[in-house]
Amino acid sequence: MSKARILFQDGKIFEAEANLNDKTVMGELVFNTAMTGYQEILTDPSYASQIVIMTYPLIGNYGIDRDFAESAKIQAQGFIIKENAETALDGKQCLSDYLAENEILCLSNIDTRKLTKIIRSTGSKNCLITTEQITEKHRKMLADYVFPKNIVETVSEKKTEKFEAIGKQIANFALIDYGVKNSIVKSLREAGAAVTVYPYNVSSKTILGGNFDAVMLSNGPGDPKDVDITKVKELLGKIAIFGICLGNQIAALAVGADTFKMKFGHRGANHPVINTKSGKVLITSQNHGYAVNAETLPADTEITYLNINDNTVEGFEHKNIPLKCVQFHPEAAPGPEDAKIIFKEWINFACREGKNA
């Protein structure tokens, strides 16, 4: 094993072991507290251009399963863990091989809790990880680094694809792919929706002309303000709109609310949210660095879910037009499936309200 280093913007350097020999990457350093689901995390397009620290120390224990992938490849820019198990269940690939195959730099044998605490106290940061000795070159690279503004474009599907409902079709959904996780499409299909996945730059006309019951704004990476929201504005009130994660933020911007960058975001599988109407609590899977500013939500919208830990907006809906969004991930993967019922609710809502819009 070779050595690797993490370089922070303030010049701090930490050493670790590396899985590859010759690699340098940069990205936003974030941590995830889920104790299982490393493969789902690695392949979630929302992690594009991010370097992910897993706070759970033993990673890779059960190997890699093709069915767990949330997209076709590893999307995270880099991976930082305490220990790579190098084991797998019978007949499965081990994490090390998977990382190598995807040429993803993975740092291990490092005090991940220490890194997590740095992020907790100073906020998510850009950093550079490299197998090289840190020199002025790296410092300059990092100083010049900007998180890619076009990140959604890089992860969105380039072509349109239609998926049949699993079981009886109840509804017909369009989905705008800002970096969608397979599980969202799968959850919709399982709940009875046929889903047509469109690239991020699909026009509102295409959507409205597609005889859909609703459109889903998917999750995805980066700052929602880097995404063009014109098309979503055009769709408002004309079709039922649902949003998850980045989709939620885009919808919020479209109705005139504002979003902000959180200190270090929510990434984990244990976030409690309360349904403001029913008073019921759900444990949710989350992965976001931006959030909707509650105070900026217009009067004709209503907050539907709040995070119990920090009171941030976890979902909202419109009082007058069919629009419902959540910040968390009802499709889970990884994480608890408490909120999976939302897909069913949305599909029923779309059938009821969508076309009347």
Partner: protein, 1064 residues
């Protein structure tokens, strides 16, 4: 909903005496629950019979009833206290059963007492196998194919239908008592027989065996708002088939994918919702890793041992939150006490690995059946935390305080290949060492997996430890290697022994390169939020998050896992010591590793270190904290054993000096001291040959007590009265272990009594004297004892006081000391001195209201005994009488002899309190679960020598209306002495068992010729008494008192159930 304002007063039910399967975890749960309720302004009334607990302390509840956990007591207390609600879910199965009984009898309804938290309905649904199974089918959760059975033949038919192996689980029993796995018809018949007997309703569940599947547990919580969360999941390293209490358990699960983790989580939450549990609940699954199939094994609708483990493992206080839920609060309204910022309605994220290993009593009962199955055998457990599995595992092994210093056992290293393979096939407490030996002999993980069915992930980890061992043995020693092995949890002792490097070498490298562990926090959230809790574990990483205050600190060393002879009483003392340290204005720090206890609750001490009580780990804490001193005298022998090592490292030990401890513990030095003080001691010497023994006997004079220094095959102490008996004993003892000497002690057939005292340099305070009911020869821990003494003369008491003063002065005791005496006529002999807290300290503190531990701590901080206002010398008695009764777990330990001798066997104790001896005695027997029969058969089987002594007892039995049944010599003797005896055949166990079951036989009075031989008919008889919970007396002194109690009870005395103060 916020707290229900109509609940103003709550009665909390404890779990009673410690038995295998129900231990200190319920003291932890109960104490938390009481505190949690009082925090909300609720008045708390507590009922528990176990005096060694913290929960029965005055300051835990508003009123404490140290009374039997039975319907009469509960009804009486409810009548007098009129509580608004009753909390049943934190007192284990015992508490639950009592409340269920009260509910069924209409007592709760009559007094308008609401059951708080989970309803009785829900509890019954979860506990009754049939209704549980139906509910699971209803909600679509898979369960193993099973049938409820009430006779053996239908079990055979069922087995023919679904095939072997078959698991038998008796309904309504503790820790699966009486159950097992049957691989063929013969075994099935035997297990069914035991199982039906063990179940109070004569019902068992026979089910398809999923042995070999993974066993996974989820600790879940639900509130009335239907919010349900997982606190922690756990994976048993041992596959299904071994009781989870006997399994090595790791948290969180290691080998489940997210999909499988969530699948089981979702199932758990579905179940807890279907059952409408309000509070904590444990769900156990069998999971087939080959196809992700699972079945629900069991649900415990209450806090449990697993919930205590999960609370400590995750930093989430399940019992505390359960209590809040019980009074109407919801999870999202209850704070997360660790972060102080977030709420209880989240799921802890761990960023470390937790390993729990059970502590079994086999080091004590070397002859007991060590095999593990569905019946729990462990008395306690240890937990270790680290950032790697290897280290958490190795730390946990060290926590067990065995002789090992690493993952190696000499015994297993010496086995032949075939012996080793045989060992691997048997799931017993030592299998883990068989695995390490096999790996050391290059057996492959595949092969081991095939034999043991342990998941390969764990086996790879074990292999990693062995490979690293090899590195240490063969590679050039380097800093990198040292860092690696430290990260994996190797002890310095092990590193030295493997690498051949001397200790100073390792020490030098550490110093030069700063290789020391750091301490990290258990914070429930994987560092996502800033945490307030000072709950730490050590690890070899970069960042030390320990916050060192500039206050002066004092460290208390805890007592580790609960074991026979070192139980919960030392945790009581440790907790009191912590409070005492705080009261003196110092920062209190505790080091301990028992997840079940109150002392390891993170809000007890100012700082908690969850570490092995091993010198290296303890030193690492001390090196960082730089305490004013360390207190050892409350942590039992475990803590005291550290004394010389700490002293060598220059650590200040508060209280009695190490030198004085040495004098008390070194036989020769102590003998000399007593001689100088002119205090008598039974004469004693050690021999290895029969001739030597005879010589010693003639010098000492008969009777003499023989004690082998190494006990095997149940051969323990024996009192011999002549040369013939001596020769016979020696022949056997010497044959067994010629290299170990036998102690020859003068046996003084007198009254045994003991005193616990607090001492400063000039005075001693003895709150009271306890007198043993059984004569010398029965271990003090297994004796009934009574406070105040009933038969000791004034002269004897005076002498004891005088001796105590002299010994305290000579040993310069600062703090607590316990002395055991024997009085024969007016002669007083000292038999044992313990310069530390003893088993009886909690009892004496409670019945005399002298906070002994706190006084001891104050004295360590230079306060004088006199200044406390409790007086000095022996305190005057009050009207209160207290009788302590031992409680045993023989049901769980086949092959351990029920007959009492000098080897301690009890796992717990209860206290009977009243203002008359007879009433206190009745209560003690009732609390211990001993029934009082009206009439029926008593089997009497008494050794020839003691027949004469037994005669008055047998006469009394007859007088009380019992039918005497005896055989052979006994039958002849009693018949000749005007007793009508029913002749029985002791070898016909089957018909005896039938008669016990049918209720004809009520009691056994057995003084065995020789104890410990499992093949003897008497042994079988005693075993039956354990199986059927029949009163069985193996010492004449006990049965005499029992008959006194029984006779008095027949006069229908009015028993009242009040607090200690009211009897004083």
């Amino acid at each position: 909903m916020p707290k229900d304002p109509t609940i103003k007063k709550v009665i909390v039910i404890g779990s009673g005496p410690i038995i295998i399967g129900q231990a200190a975890e319920f003291d932890y749960a109960g104490t938390q629950a009481c505190k949690s309720l009082r925090e909300e302004g609720i008045e708390v009334v507590l009922l528990n019979s176990n005096p060694a607990t913290i929960m029965t302390d005055d300051n835990v509840a508003d009123r404490v009833y140290l009374q039997p956990l039975n319907i009469e007591a509960l009804e009486y207390i409810i009548e007098r206290e009129r509580p608004d609600g009753i909390l049943a879910a934190i007192g284990g199965q015992t508490g639950l059963n009592l409340v269920t009984q009260a509910y069924k009898k209409g007592i709760l309804e009559k007094s308008k007492v609401r059951i708080l938290g989970t309803s009785i309905d829900a509890i019954q649904k979860a506990e009754d196998r049939e209704s549980f199974k139906n509910l699971m089918l209803e909600i679509g959760e898979p369960v193993a194919k099973s049938e409820i059975l009430e006779d053996i033949e239908s079990a055979v038919v069922f087995a023919q239908k679904i095939g072997y192996p078959i698991v038998i689980r008796p309904a309504f029993t503790l820790a699966g008592t009486g159950g097992g796995i049957a691989y063929n018809e013969e075994e099935l018949r035997q297990i069914m027989y035991n199982g039906l007997a063990a179940s109070p309703i004569g019902q068992v569940l026979a089910e398809e065996s999923v042995a070999g599947w993974k066993e996974i547990e989820y600790e879940v919580m639900r509130d009335a708002n239907d919010t349900a969360i997982t606190v922690c999941n756990m994976e048993n390293i041992d596959p299904v088939g071994i009781h989870t209490g006997d399994s090595i358990v790791v948290a969180p699960s290691q080998t489940l994918s997210d999909k499988d983790y969530q699948k089981l989580r979702a199932a758990s939450l579905k179940i807890i919702r279907a059952l409408k549990i309000e509070g904590g609940c444990n769900v156990q699954f069998a999971f087939n890793p080959k196809n992700s199939e699972y079945v629900v094994i069991e649900v415990n609708p209450r806090v449990s041992r697993s919930s205590a483990l999960a609370s400590k493992a995750a930093g989430y206080p399940i019992a505390k939150v359960t209590a809040k839920i019980a009074i109407g609060m919801n999870l999202h309204e209850i704070p997360n006490y660790v972060t102080g910022k977030t709420k209880a309605s989240f799921e802890p994220a761990l960023d470390y690995v937790v390993v729990k290993i059970p502590k079994w009593p086999f080091d004590k009962f070397g002859y007991a059946d060590r095999r593990l199955g569905t019946q729990m055998k462990a008395t306690g457990e240890v937990m270790a935390i680290d950032r790697t599995f290897e280290s958490a595992f190795l730390k946990a092994l060290i926590c067990l305080e065995g002789t090992v210093i690493g993952f190696r056992s000499k015994k297993h290293e010496q086995l032949t290949q075939q012996e080793l393979i045989n060992k691997l096939k048997i799931a017993d407490d030592e299998r883990i060492y068989a695995i390490s030996s096999a790996l050391r002999r290059n057996m492959s993980v595949e092969e081991l997996h095939k034999i043991t069915q342990i998941d390969k992930w764990f086996l790879y980890k074990f292999e990693n430890i062995i490979n690293t061992e090899r590195q240490l043995k063969t590679e050039e020693f380097s800093i990198e290697l040292l860092k690696k092995v430290e990260g994996m949890g190797f002890t310095d002792d092990e590193i030295c022994s493997l690498s051949g490097k001397p200790k100073f070498y390792i020490d030098t490298l550490r110093r030069a390169h700063g290789i020391y562990p750091v301490h990290k926090m258990v914070d429930t959230c994987a560092a996502e939020f800033e945490a307030q809790t000072p709950y730490y574990y050590s690890t070899y990483e970069d960042d030390d998050e320990n916050i060192y205050s500039d206050k002066e600190k004092v460290i208390v060393i805890g007592s580790g896992p609960i074991r026979i002879g070192q139980g919960i009483e030392f945790d009581y003392c440790s907790v009191h010591a912590i409070q005492g340290i705080k009261d003196n204005g110092y920062e209190s720090i505790i080091i301990n590793n028992n997840p079940e206890t109150v002392s390891t609750d993170f809000d007890i001490a100012d700082k908690l270190y969850f570490e092995p009580l091993f010198i290296e780990d303890v030193s690492n804490v001390i090196r960082q904290e730089l305490p004013k001193g360390v207190i050892l005298q409350f942590g039992g022998q475990t803590a005291l054993n550290l004394a010389p090592k700490l002293l060598k490292r220059g650590v200040q030990i508060l209280g009695t000096s190490v030198e004085s401890i040495n004098v008390a513990e070194d036989r020769k030095r102590f003998e000399m001291l007593l001689k100088e003080l002119k205090i008598k001691q039974p004469k004693s010497t050690a021999v290895t040959k029969t001739e030597e023994a005879l010589k010693a006997a003639s010098k000492i004079g008969y009777p003499i007590l023989l004690r082998p220094s190494y006990v095997t095959g149940g051969r323990a102490m024996k009192v011999v009265y002549n040369d013939k008996e001596l020769i016979s004993y020696m022949r056997e003892a010497v044959q067994i272990s010629p290299e170990y000497p036998v102690a020859v002690d003068q046996y003084i057939e007198g009254k045994e009594f003991e005193v616990d005292m607090v001492c400063d340099k000039s005075d001693i305070l003895i709150p009271g004297i306890t007198e043993h009911i059984e004569r010398a020869g029965v271990h003090s821990g297994d004796s009934f004892c009574v406070y105040p003494p009933r038969t000791l003369s004034e002269t004897v008491i005076k002498k004891a006081l005088d001796f105590s003063k002299k010994i305290a002065k000579a040993l310069q005791v600062i703090g607590l000391m316990n002395i055991q005496f024997i009085a024969k006529d007016d002669d007083v002999y000292v038999i044992e001195v313990n310069p530390r807290a003893s088993r009886t300290v909690p009892i004496m503190s409670k019945v005399t209201k002298v906070p002994m531990v706190k006084l001891a701590v104050n004295i360590m901080f230079s306060k004088s005994l006199k200044s406390h206002g409790f007086g000095v010398g022996l305190l005057p008695e009050t009207k209160l009488v207290a009788v302590k009764a031992p409680v045993f777990s023989f049901q769980k330990l086949p092959e351990v002899d029920v007959a009492l001798n000098a080897e301690m066997k009890s796992t717990g104790e209860v206290l009977g309190i009243d203002s008359s001896y007879e009433k206190a005695l009745i209560k003690a027997f009732m609390a211990a679960g001993t029934t009082f029969a009206e009439n029926g058969i008593v089997i009497v089987s008494v050794r020839e020598k003691d027949m004469a002594e037994s005669l008055p007892v047998v006469k009394k039995l007859q007088e009380l209306g019992f039918t005497i049944a005896a055989s052979d010599e006994n039958e002849k003797y009693y018949s000749q002495n005007a007793i009508s005896v029913k002749k029985i055949d002791k070898n016909d166990l089957k018909s005896i068992a039938e008669k016990i079951k049918s209720g004809e036989i009520k009691m056994i009075y057995n003084l065995p010729e020789k104890d410990g031989n499992p093949k003897a008919p008497d042994f079988k008889l005693r075993e039956l008494s354990a199986i059927y919970k029949l009163p069985c007396f193996t010492c004449t002194d006990t049965i005499k008192e029992y008959l006194k109690a029984l006779e008095y009870k027949r006069q229908n005395p009015v028993l009242d159930y009040k607090t200690i103060e009211e009897y004083m």
